[in-house]
């Protein structure tokens, strides 16, 4: 796992955040503070705005109100895994690694962490949904970003992969990384902050 570069005094500080979708307020007054090494688990019913919150944090949607102070480099794994079907998984991950400015070794380490190494030569199009999810998580881990934004990272994962995910998150936090994850279940991470929408 690449060591994130962390500014010791930095915080992810979200205050009074609100978002609208299609003219309807999805959530309002959401606030939390996350320190390096911290993890936030976002919970709530379907349609409560969990994914919307994550997309606002990622800068993919504008906030209707409130402030986000995010001094960290950020990686995002959404519902859509952003893998083209044709190229091999290794080539796909290498492309994003080039954009992230990280070397092939970072990708290789992340692939080991998510047990994807044997699959790197296969076209991304033939992977199962759980394998594609792991590929998206590998891209996040390889990016070396400080803040991981994960939208239901455990969706479609088998028991063994759940363990790999928990281990990867623990290693990321141990090296000073932060994580915000949307989940319906238990990610198996140590004492997360919880936010209920």
């Amino acid at each position: 796992m690449p060591t994130p570069t962390v500014i010791n005094t930095a915080l992810l500080d979200v205050d009074g955040l609100a978002a609208t979708r299609g003219g309807r307020t999805v959530f309002a007054g959401v606030g939390f503070t996350l320190v390096p090494g911290g993890a936030l688990q976002v919970e709530g019913a379907n349609g409560a705005g969990k994914s919307t919150l994550l997309r606002v944090l990622a800068g993919l949607l504008p906030a209707a109100a409130g402030t986000i102070a995010n001094p960290f480099t950020t990686a995002f794994a959404g519902h859509d895994v952003a893998l083209k079907p044709g190229p091999s998984l290794g080539d796909e991950l290498a492309h994003w690694a080039r954009l992230d400015g990280v070397d092939a070794a970072a990708v290789a380490r992340a692939a080991v962490a998510f047990a994807l190494t044997p699959l790197l030569g296969l076209p991304a199009g033939i992977l199962s949904s759980g394998q594609r999810r792991r590929a998206a998580l590998t891209r996040v881990a390889a990016s070396g970003a400080d803040l991981w934004l994960l939208d239901e990272p455990d969706a479609g994962l088998d028991a063994a992969s759940h363990g790999l995910l928990a281990t990867a998150i623990a290693a990321h936090r141990a090296s000073g990384g932060l994580m915000v994850a949307v989940t319906h279940g238990d990610l198996g991470i140590a004492d997360p902050q919880r936010l209920r929408l």
Binding site: R21, R55, A58, G59, L60, L61, T74, A75, F76, G78, H79, D80, V81, A82, L83, K84, G86, P87, D91, H95, W96, R98, L99, D100, R139
Partner: protein
């Protein structure tokens, strides 16, 4: 550096699907081949309308890739990954424009002699030059229309309605050049149209994609 990485990525993906690259070109040649059947084997008439036919065929061919130009990247989350990395959408659009032009115009120019033979075109040079200068405009318009309709179901048909009127100046200047009429001035205006569209498209398409949520 990011710009070149994005172009390389698009070209790699394009070369993996040679069928998609060949489709507009085959369509281009087929449209050109229709005309001798439609207007009869009058060689003088064919030679006279040939530049116009080639340009209309190129314009129609430029509409074919629109649906696969931007929409898949919006749908599969690739564009989200670009935005999260802080890469400007304008940069992404500009890179895609370069890659799309290479994948569209180069095969088209290679197929031009075939269309020329079918139509009995007397001189290939002026028309090839005009297409070289005009295809960036066609590629830019296709990309702009693709960005505007990226989230619409069946947006390709609507995109055609957007492109065709905007392509009229390119068509007019291109045909004037290819026909050898008032050639010099038309060539400069054609180049100017291409420059304007190529310069505007990254910003217009970037704004369109930013409005997607």
């Amino acid at each position: 550096m990011i710009f070149l990485t994005l172009i390389r990525r698009d070209l790699t993906l394009a070369l993996r699907r040679p069928g998609a690259l060949a489709l507009p070109v085959v369509f281009f040649v087929l449209v050109a081949a229709l005309f001798p059947f439609a207007v009869g084997p009058d060689a003088r008439l064919l030679a006279r309308i040939a530049p116009g036919v080639v340009w209309v065929a190129a314009l129609l061919a430029s509409l074919l890739p629109i649906e696969t130009l931007v929409a898949p990247d919006v749908a599969d989350g690739s564009l989200d990954q670009i935005v999260v990395r802080g890469i400007a959408l304008e940069t992404w659009v500009a890179a895609r424009l370069v890659a799309h032009w290479l994948g569209f115009a180069v095969p088209l120019l290679i197929a031009l002699p075939v269309a020329a033979v079918l139509l009995g075109l007397p001189a290939l040079g002026p028309l090839a030059l005009a297409l070289l200068l005009g295809t960036p405009a066609l590629a830019a318009l296709a990309l702009l229309a693709a960005s505007l309709t990226a989230t619409l179901r069946g947006g390709g048909a609507l995109a055609g309605l957007i492109v065709v009127p905007l392509a009229l100046p390119v068509l007019i200047f291109g045909v004037a050049e290819g026909g050898g009429v008032a050639a010099d001035g038309a060539l400069k205006l054609l180049a100017a149209s291409s420059l304007v569209l190529v310069a505007l498209t990254p910003f217009a398409a970037g704004a369109a994609l930013r409005a997607v949520d």
